[in-house]
Amino acid sequence: MIVAFYVAGGVAVLSTFLVILQTNAIHALLYTILSLLSVAIVFFSLGAPLVAALEVIVYAGAIMVLFVFVVMVLNLSPETEGVDRAWLQPRTWTGPVILTLILIGELVYILMTRAGLTLEGAAIGPKQVSLALYGPYLLGVELASILLLAGLVGAYHLGRDALD
């Protein structure tokens, strides 16, 4: 499980990095799906099987398939790739990369100076999560359902005129 955590974490970071370098939308999506699946393995190695399954089903399954549908609808031409490639020049990415490296360095420094606490071994099963979700967090579930309804109405309103 420890080896699975480190290997999957490395794959997640590497595949997320490769998404930035991609200009082809479908290739970027496939790398994103790879990243999400490896994060699911990280969840499983951390003892969160329900969340790992949800990551595969909802994130990698539903949300990314929605992106693939949009790529199919848009029918992107090769010229858009050229525009993207023109933006991937060093003068474009040096500033953001330096700032992000400073951010990562600070976060790693702060976290590494703390005392080493190891994660507890016991897995938290679906039953515990469900009891917490429909017990103290019931109001949150209702709010999430209202949010999803608002998202549905908003997506319908935005997409109604776009495709005619």
């Binding site: 329900l50 949800l54 994130y59 929605l66 990562i104 703390r114 949010l147 935005l158 495709l163």
Partner: protein, 102 residues
């Protein structure tokens, strides 16, 4: 199965989040920006799950489920906006949609 230091999990979440920020800052394609927003939400969820594993409580996983619902709603609206942008400007470059510039 234990013996994974807590800060390594948080550091993984921080690196993924920073990669998402870097991607949003570098790319000007709204399609890629939406992908990186997903990556950042996923990294925030990873931090919650690491905290849940640290304390042995289910609350962090409940928060991840809420983040999942938020990401689903966000991507529905975001892809709707993407289709509108493509319909109006025939491009996915967000710099083209600069009508509000003074």
């Amino acid at each position: 199965m234990a013996e994974i230091p807590t800060q390594y999990g948080i550091i993984l979440a921080a690196i993924l989040f920073s990669l998402g920020i870097a991607g949003i800052l570098i790319r000007r394609n709204i399609f890629f920006i939406l992908i990186f927003v997903e990556v950042m939400l996923n990294a925030a969820g990873l931090a919650f799950v690491v905290a849940a594993a640290r304390w042995g409580q289910a609350d962090g996983q409940v928060m991840f489920i809420f983040i999942l619902a938020t990401a689903a709603a966000e991507v529905a609206i975001g892809l709707g906006l993407l289709l509108r942008l493509h319909h109006l400007f025939k491009t996915l470059n967000v710099d083209q949609a600069s009508d509000l510039r003074g």
